[in-house]
């Protein structure tokens, strides 16, 4: 009786110890990063979610004492015209930007993939818009689209479109979105283009040659060979773009400020305005949480789509 347990128990601590040993080092090495992530991402996230269930204003933020209001703020988000419009703007305009960025990025990637003279130079030049801070780019584009002194109106008038004389791009929601769309795509296509270019260069030449020999034209080669092979990359890029374009802030903040009744504000700007300008921190946080959930839903959807593809 004395021996049996000893025999059984001896290996057990050993297994556990081994497992612990095996885990200790990785955990220790991950710890610094985990602490930083918990501090910089986790804490604000938890706090924002908490705030979204309270009636926190400026006084409560400083001295504490906010009241739990349950789902009141979330009801308000969907009942308030301005906030509901901001959420719709976010989804619609964000989606259009994702499509625009992907299409333009793909076109540039295909061009850069041709063995043309000077492609190294173009490859570097394409990166430049990405290096410009969003707020600076927005200010520059706002100026380019200025009604009287902007380059865009000047060029359009000289091309014969006389109705663009003094055309006020930011006096209406649709025209303002056209200008902002161009700014967003200009800023975000470089990353897409270069990622796709990297993907294109991994496609074996033999596959494309074989397709060509079988009689596939350029369009069919792209549609039936290139695109399917790039699908995993495209899926990841679409997730990234969606996250970026749904939470755009700088471009809207700078360029859409004059659109009548702020009709072009997106959720990120609306959350900021509600919180910091009106000191309705609870309601502002609720807008941010709704945006977070929308992004989470889109991301999960894409991740599942990618997973399915791998399984096929």
């Amino acid at each position: 009786m004395a021996t049996a347990p000893a025999v059984v128990s001896a290996p057990r601590p050993l297994v556990v110890r081994r497992a612990v040993n095996r885990l200790t080092l990785p955990v220790l090495m991950l710890l610094p990063a985990l602490i930083i992530i918990a501090g910089l991402v986790g804490y604000p996230l938890v706090r924002t979610i908490y705030l979204s269930f309270t009636d926190t204003g400026l006084g409560e933020l400083i001295y504490g004492g906010s009241t739990w209001v349950g789902l009141e703020n979330f009801k308000e988000v969907f009942a308030n015209d301005r906030l509901r419009v901001a959420l719709v703007n976010t989804v619609v305009f964000g989606t259009v930007c994702v499509i625009g960025t992907m299409v333009f990025g793909f076109a540039v990637a295909l061009l850069l993939n041709q063995r043309l003279k000077g492609n190294l130079f173009f490859g570097i030049a394409v990166l430049l818009p990405w290096a410009v801070p969003a707020i600076a780019a927005s200010a520059i584009f706002k100026w380019l689209f200025d009604s009287r002194y902007g380059f865009v109106n000047w060029a359009l008038v000289n091309l014969g479109f006389d109705s663009f004389q003094d055309y006020a791009w930011f006096a209406g929601r649709f025209s303002a979105y056209v200008a902002i769309f161009i700014t967003v795509v200009w800023q975000s296509f470089p990353f897409i283009a270069l990622s796709l270019l990297a993907g294109l260069q991994t496609i074996p030449k033999e596959t494309l040659h074989a397709a060509a020999i079988d009689g596939a034209g350029p369009w069919n080669r792209f549609r039936l060979v290139t695109l399917p092979l790039l699908r995993p990359i495209v899926a990841v890029l679409v997730v990234f773009s969606t996250i970026w374009d749904f939470k755009i802030f700088d471009q809207i903040y700078v360029m859409a400020a004059g659109v009548p009744d702020r009709a072009a504000d997106t959720a990120a700007v609306a959350a900021y305005r509600e919180g910091f300008a009106l000191s309705h921190y609870g309601l502002g946080s609720a807008v941010a949480v709704v945006l977070f959930l929308i992004l989470l839903a889109f991301s999960l959807l894409y991740v599942r789509l990618i997973g399915k593809e791998g399984a096929e």
């Binding site: 933020l61 400083i62 003094d166 791009w169 004059g258 509600e274 009106l278 000191s279």
Partner: protein, 427 residues
């Protein structure tokens, strides 16, 4: 500039001076220097005046003060107006406040209401511009000392009005007639006025000019007075310039500086602007100086040409660690000879009565209308703690823009605004 004027309105943030109580004998406003016991360092936030020359005036204050009080250090930071309100909020929330700050007069009651500011006790009768003291007052306590103030008046291009064959307008009817004449006869892409969608200090005062009120006080609470025929008439009048093409097409989305730029570029003939705007236009285009005329704001149907009295208070924060030094520095900045170095550059009037006397403003024909406008034809917005938030949230602009674009009537706009205001006043 828009925020700039907002700030201006906030007037008297009484410097912390008084609040620190104890200290050496009550800091006298004219001799801040005080006893040799001042030491340590303070940080001071000043709204960015945008010009290096004016920044230097402020920096010189710090240098001179430090020289007069060895062992002290004054650290000046310039904060852009557009971000200032948010920056104050985050600073207070984070407990990282400056010791002394310039604050827009419409913001002072808001932050005082949060308990962030020090009450100012050494406010003498007749020492400061009184409307600015009113703007700093919450529940009979004063939380800021008026630093400078200004009110918008009419500036116009003499040559363009001459070409149109009209005199500078003195009332609404003449203003509308002059605008139509400019539009018809001047040509060359010149529009008559620069009435914009994002400048509440241009359109809200028209309500006073029409004989209306913006809000009325009943004990501790405020109630919007915008749902009135006078207010509707005022907004309708203001928007009609844009609707009839007398203001640039893009102006519906412009802020005040955009209109000033257009005026400096010769694209518009008349503008409602303050002395600071006038100064900056002259600084940009010196050759315009002899072509620009100034006059009082045209009077409305009530016979009044009331403009908004905006300005800045100097305030001290409760969480400041060196209130005594902060108070001394505030009083130093408010000495008449120091004060005028700044106000004459920036184009505002000093916030102290002695300062105005020393400024010589009333003797300069070109600048006299701005001084008269402030002293005799100006008013302040309701000094409610909620006002700063109302401005910050842009509740006015959106409705005015909709009227300008013809998407709703002035009557609907003032009704909507009144209910939004009451909601904020109540919440």
């Amino acid at each position: 500039m828009r925020k700039f004027s907002v700030t201006v309105a906030g007037l008297l943030l009484a410097a912390v001076v008084a609040a620190c109580g104890g200290g050496d004998d009550e800091p006298s406003a004219d001799k801040a220097a005080g006893s040799g016991s001042l030491e340590g360092s303070i940080s001071v936030w000043i709204m960015d005046p945008g010009s290096p020359k004016i920044q230097d005036v402020v920096k010189q204050y710090a240098t001179d003060f430090e020289a007069a009080h060895p062992g002290t250090q004054v650290d000046i930071q310039f904060v852009p107006w557009a971000q200032a309100h948010d920056k104050f909020v985050t600073a207070i929330a984070g407990g990282e406040v400056p010791d002394v700050a310039e604050m827009g007069t419409t913001w002072t009651p808001e932050f005082a209401d949060q308990g962030a500011l020090v009450e100012q006790q050494a406010i003498g009768e007749g020492q400061y511009v009184s409307s600015l003291v009113d703007a700093a007052t919450l529940n009979d306590k004063v939380y800021g000392k008026p630093w400078y103030a200004g009110a918008r008046a009419l500036i116009y291009r003499k040559d363009l009005l001459e070409k149109a064959g009209v005199e500078p307008p003195t009332n609404w009817d003449e203003l509308m007639a002059a605008a139509k004449a400019v539009e018809e006869k001047v040509g060359g892409g010149v529009d008559a006025v620069g009435f914009t969608g994002l400048s509440e200090h241009m359109y809200l005062p028209t309500i006073w000019q029409a004989g209306g009120e913006i809000a009325t006080q009943d004990g501790d609470t405020w109630k919007s007075a915008l749902n009135s025929p006078e207010a509707a008439q005022a907004i309708d009048f203001y928007a009609s310039f844009y609707k009839q093409g007398l203001s640039p097409k893009a102006a519906v989305g412009w802020e005040e500086p955009d209109a000033q730029t257009a005026f400096a570029n010769g694209d518009i003939a008349m503008l409602i602007a303050g002395g600071w705007g006038y100064n900056s236009i002259i600084a940009t285009k010196p050759e315009l100086e002899e072509k620009i005329g100034t006059a009082l704001t045209p009077a409305g149907p009530s016979g009044k040409g009331t403009a908004f009295a905006g300005g800045s208070h100097l305030v001290q924060f409760q969480e400041s660690q060196n209130k005594e030094l902060g108070a001394a520095f505030v009083d130093f900045m408010l000495e008449p000879e120091q004060l005028n170095k700044f106000t004459s550059e920036i184009g505002f009037l000093p916030g102290t009565v002695d300062g105005i006397k020393a400024s010589g403003y009333l003797e300069d024909p070109q600048r006299k209308p701005f001084a008269e406008q402030l002293l005799d034809h100006s008013a302040v917005y309701p000094p409610s703690p909620k006002w700063g938030g109302l401005e910050g949230a842009n509740i006015f602009d959106g409705e005015i823009q909709k009227v300008m674009k013809g998407q709703e009537t002035a009557q609907e706009a003032v009704q909507n605004l009144a209910s939004k205001m009451d909601e904020e006043f109540a919440g």
